[in-house]
Each structure stands twice: as C-alpha cells, then as structure tokens.
Amino acid sequence: MTLTVSLPAADRDPEGGAVSTALATVLGARQDDPRSVPPFQLIDEDGEPTALGVSIGIDLNLAQEMHADMVLARRLDSEALALQRQGELHLWLMSWGQEAAQVGSVRAVRDSDMIFPSYREHAVALCRRIAPADIMRQWRGVSHSGWDPAESKVHINSLVLGTQTLHATGYAAGVRMDRSDDVVLTYFGDGSASQGDVNEALNWAAAGSLPVLFFCQNNQWAISTPTHTQMRTPLHVRAAGFGVTGYHVDGNDAMAVHAVTQYAAEQVRGGAGPALIEAQTYRLAGHSSSDDPKRYRTEDDLAAWLKKDPIVRLERFLRRAGVEDAHFEDLAAREEAFAATVREQCKALRGDDLAAVFDQTYAEAHPVMDREKAEFLGRRDRTVA
C-alpha cells in the first residue's frame, strides 16, 4: 500500500505515552485559560489536513484503524436498528455520527484505564473488544447490563444520566490511593451536563485534583432539547471555571479527537488534575429507535451536519493519502461478516430466568430472596406442569 501522505507524528509512543511536542505547544495553553476556543481540528470536512494537521503530522496507520472501527460501529447501528424494527431488540440508541468522538477518544487511553460510559458508547465498547452480543443484551431486554467490567475495563452503562461521572470520580480517588497512574475516562452528553451530579463531579475531581478525564459528546441535542436550552456557555468553558482543564475539539475529526484525548490523558496521568474534552458532534439519527426527530429538528440542520460526517471525512482523507480501493473493499467484506455476526449474536441472545435475580440482588443470604425465590419457582413449575 502506497502512503502518499506520510505524516507520522515522529515522537508518538505506540503505547500511548508521549505526545508530539507540536501538539503540546498548541494544547498546553489550555491548562490555565478559562476562555472559549474554537474546536481543535486536524482534518477538515473535505478530508484535507488543516495547517495544524500538517504541522503536527497525521499517523496514517492509526487513521486507517480508526476508520475501520468507525465503519464497524456504524454498521452495528444500522444492523441493530433493523433488528429493532424486526422486533429482535426492544430499543436501540444510535451512535450514528458520533463514531469519531468515541473511537478517537477510547483509542487514546490505555486499555487499563477504566471507563465509565453513558448509554450511547457502542463504538467505545467495540474498541474495547466487547462482543456485539454483550452490547445488545441490554437493549434486547434480556439483561440490565451486557459485559463484565473486570474484563473490558468499561463499567456497565448508566441510564440515569450523569450519575456515572461521580462513580468515575470516586474510582479515581481509589486510583490515587493505590498510587497507580491510571486515568479514569467518563462519557456524558450535553444534556446530562445540566444534572447536579455532573457538576458535583467536576467540582469534586477538581478540588481533589483527581485523575479523571471527562468527555462530553456535545451532539447538539438531548432528545428534542437543543444544547442552548441546557447551557449558556460551551462546556469546555464551564469546566475551566471549576478548574478542570477544558479542551474543545471537532468531534467529527477522529484524528483530532485522538490527539486531544491523548494529550489530555497524559496531562491527567501526570498529576495535572482533571480535564474535560468537549467534542462537537451530531446525533445524525433520532434519539433512539422510538424517537421521531422530525418533530423537532429541521432538515437543514441535519443536512449541514451530514456534510461533516466523520466517516466520510476520514475516508476522503485516506483516499487522498493514497489508500487504495483494495483496502476499502477488504473493509467492506469485514463489515459484511461483522453484520452477519451481529444479527446472529442478537438472535441467539437469551436471558436469565427471573429466578437468577433472586440470587443476584444481594451478595449475602437474604430471607426475603429465599422465600420469594421459592414462591416463584413453585409458580413457574405449576405453570410448566
């Protein structure tokens, strides 16, 4: 494969350690500046590297890998939505349009860094090698959670908005007590930022100088409510007000998200205190499979953002950089195989019986659980008999 645009970040550590000094020069200024800045960008909407992209350098291998992650994540969305329409899933929340924000960020931290997600981070989950089955479990209604956080280092989804940011903060307090250099990454949405918990977490993490990296996917909507109803200032400005270093990034530019996250994570890891990244992105689909976005948003708004599609942009970049058709054909084949897996895994998903929940509610013996489990089993067996 010929790489016509070869812009490897010379001093990039494949372990996710050091970051480019050029980057540090640009982003280092954020530390003590509470003012708003335009979103950081490395590749523009046409797939052209920006001046900054050129000067900092773009790692083509990483771009290819992330592009592939994003394509698969989007395919998960379309398959899952179809499965929902067929009645195989009860509900699905699309990450469509937010793939760059998710893939770019999760790939910029270490696998050992714990993640506290909201509920829309399917692309994050895929990058952490969580099986599609485990991602869909919850939305098929067979379980409240999909995966084992001990394995993936991704905590189970939070559906009560914003609560996970406090869990991340407490976890980070534990990290510090353990004298570990882990970073704790937590995701939340622009709407959730209005919750008391999120603000308590920003403040708590700042006051304690804890290693938390807050990542807000500002997808411009909270169901039907636009961001300006939620807040008056951009979130990276609010964060800075708390003493949480605020970064602002084009969330549809995977490379920019990656670079900013990597930089911020290393700052946090090094003891600089918490940081927040506000990624400007867009929820190209409705809020969920039950939502009808036509009720509240204009075609124009959507059209404008469709032009900024993060996958289209990265593909353009890769093609300009000389990545050949064969690569995309391979990827298309991987995608089809992946889609088949998704469908198969979904349909094969079976849940526990209610009997299991009596054992899962308490760690230790509990008389009410014992009595009611026996009652339930009696009823079940009578019904079966």
């Binding site: 009860h90 509900l91 209604g141 379980s143 008391g196 169901i223 039907s224 009720r295 009410v368």
Partner: protein
C-alpha cells in the same frame, strides 16, 4: 355528554382545560414542548399556550422541582413532568424536604400548588429505570398528596383537580394504560381523594390502583365464573387513603387482597393491611393479603411478566384468602 379518549389524551385534554382556565398554570419538564413529551401527553400545548407556559427545561430533575417551587412562591401553578418514574430521585430532596414541608415550616403561610406528573410502572418492555413503582416513598411523606389514575375519565378530571389543589400533588399515570380508551364525562363524579367501588363483592375485595385496576377487574371476572363474588376497589388516592370506603368493603366482604406493582415490603398494601385490620379486626375472616411485585429491583423486560402481579397471582391470593 361524554367523549372517547385514550388515557394519555384525556390527561392532555385535562391539562389543556386547566391551562385555559387559569393562566397561572405552567407545564414544565424535559421535552414537554415541541416534542409533546415522550408519551405525547403534552402534545400541542406549546402551540396553544406558548413556550412561556409550556417550558422545555434543562435536563435536571432537582432543578425542575426546585424551580417549580420558586414559581409557585411567585404565584404560579406549575405542573412538572418527570419523564420516567426512575428519574424522580434526583428531585427527592426538593420534593420531601421542600415541597412537602413548605406549608408546615412556614406555619401555614406558604402554599405550594405544584403537581408532579409521573408516568409509572412496567409492562411496556422498557429498559431499566423506566418501569418503577415508587408511590410508597411519597405516600410516606407528610405534606404531599399522592394520587393514581386508572382510566381516561379519572385521568381527565383528576389532573384538573390536582392542579386546582393548593397542596402539592404527586400524580401517577399508568404508562401501560396510556393507550387504553374510555369515555370521559364533562363533570367529575368524585372528589380527588375518594376511592371508587368498581364492583361490589361479598366473598373478597380486591383493592388496586393505577395499572393494576384492570388486572383486578379481570381477576374478579375470572373468579365470578367460578362462582365467587369478588369486589374491586380502585383506590385513586394513595395519600390520603379513603379509609371509610376500605373499611366498608372489608366489613362487607370479610376478605381483602391488595394488588399493586410496587414491592410488597412497605408497599402501600402494607399500610392498607395494617389500617384495615386495625379498624375491622373482627370483621375479617382472613388476613389482608398483598400481591405485588417481588421484592427485587425491577428486572429486565423479558422477565417482567413473571415479575409483575398478574391475574393468576391475584387469584392465587384470593384462593388463599378464601381458604383461611
């Protein structure tokens, strides 16, 4: 004169009537404006009354109730929507320490005519935190009124009565019955806190509210086919309870089974059992029995049919009661 409405549409009509009748009535909550709420209960209101009176709020439940209190202190009558039952807890402090107590702590000077609408309960295949029955928390809280509607007619009138009340009211809407249709009369037949005796019965009385009223009626019908006369009471109000009506039916039928979707442990059934037994001790031929959800966190949707009290479990309890 009556009209046919679904339960959700009846609340919508009730809200519209209340807003038309008093320009201090303000509807507020997440996505209640343009979207008309996730269940469309506030559909069309923003068009009719404007964005000042139908307010899409920031995503913060404590903020919703806290600012509603402030609005009420300024003379407004806010009707807050909590998007789903499981999302009322961030507002718990504002509800139990502020909303409920303001009148007593101000020595009766300040009234807070705030209504908090909560779509409640399970049975719609929803994800976690979207199917909870948390009425006992609020019913245990002095200073609040808690009501639960089960049919379109009540829904239409009770929401208006709740808004008209100078006390704070927690207003439960049985989400799996939103689409059930029924006739709605122009005038209410009952006050807000009266229970409705839907069926008289001499062998046993089923007491239910909200979503389980239909379950109780179906169970009563099934039992009738087996020759038993089973009464059904729709509580309508959970706080205060209509104790005289409960006492009367207990004295007449000598047996009582309470049915609700909440956990039985300290659920409203516990209070009814304790109260009715206290006042009708010699009339009862069997202890008041309770049929509720198991004492578990609400489980994943694919188990909810096993979890929720259904006709069979109600009939099982009736049988236990009859065999005492």
């Amino acid at each position: 004169m009556t009209t046919t409405y679904s339960l959700g549409a009846a609340i919508n009509a009730g809200l519209r009537a209340a807003m038309a009748g008093d320009d201090k009535v303000v509807v507020m909550g997440e996505d209640v404006g343009t979207l008309g709420g996730v269940f469309r209960v506030t559909d069309g209101l923003v068009g009719e009354f404007g964005a000042d009176r139908v307010v899409d709020t920031p995503l913060a439940e404590s903020g919703i109730v806290g600012t509603a209190i402030g609005l009420a202190l300024r003379g407004y009558r806010p009707v807050c929507e909590i998007q789903f039952d499981g999302f009322v807890y961030p507002a718990f402090d504002q509800i139990v320490s502020q909303l409920a107590k303001m009148r007593a702590r101000s020595r009766g000077r300040l009234s807070l005519p705030v209504v908090i609408r909560i779509p409640v309960g399970g049975g719609i295949g929803a994800v976690e935190h979207h199917s909870e029955s948390n009425e006992a928390y609020f019913a245990h809280t002095a200073g609040l009124r808690v009501v639960s509607c089960s049919n379109p007619d009540d829904a239409f009138h009770m929401i208006q009565q709740a808004i008209a009340s100078d006390d704070p009211v927690i207003f439960y809407e049985p989400k799996r019955r939103y689409w059930d249709k029924g006739e709605v009369s122009t005038e209410p037949t009952r006050s807000l806190h009266e229970a409705a005796v839907l069926r008289e019965g001499s062998d046993c009385t089923l007491v239910a509210h909200g979503p389980t009223v239909a379950t109780a009626l179906a169970a009563a019908d099934a039992a009738r086919e087996d020759g038993f006369s089973i009464g059904v009471v729709d509580l309508r109000s959970l706080s205060p309870l209509d104790v005289p009506t409960l006492r009367k039916v207990a004295a007449e039928s000598h047996r009582m089974v309470v049915v609700h979707e909440a956990s039985t442990f300290l659920g409203i059934g516990a209070e009814i059992a304790a109260t009715v037994t206290e006042s009708c001790f010699y009339d009862l031929e069997a202890p008041v029995l309770r049929v509720g959800a198991y004492n578990l966190p609400y489980p994943p949707a694919h188990m909810e049919n096993d979890f929720l009290p259904d006709i069979d479990r109600v009939l099982e309890a009736v049988e236990t009661s009859l065999n005492f």
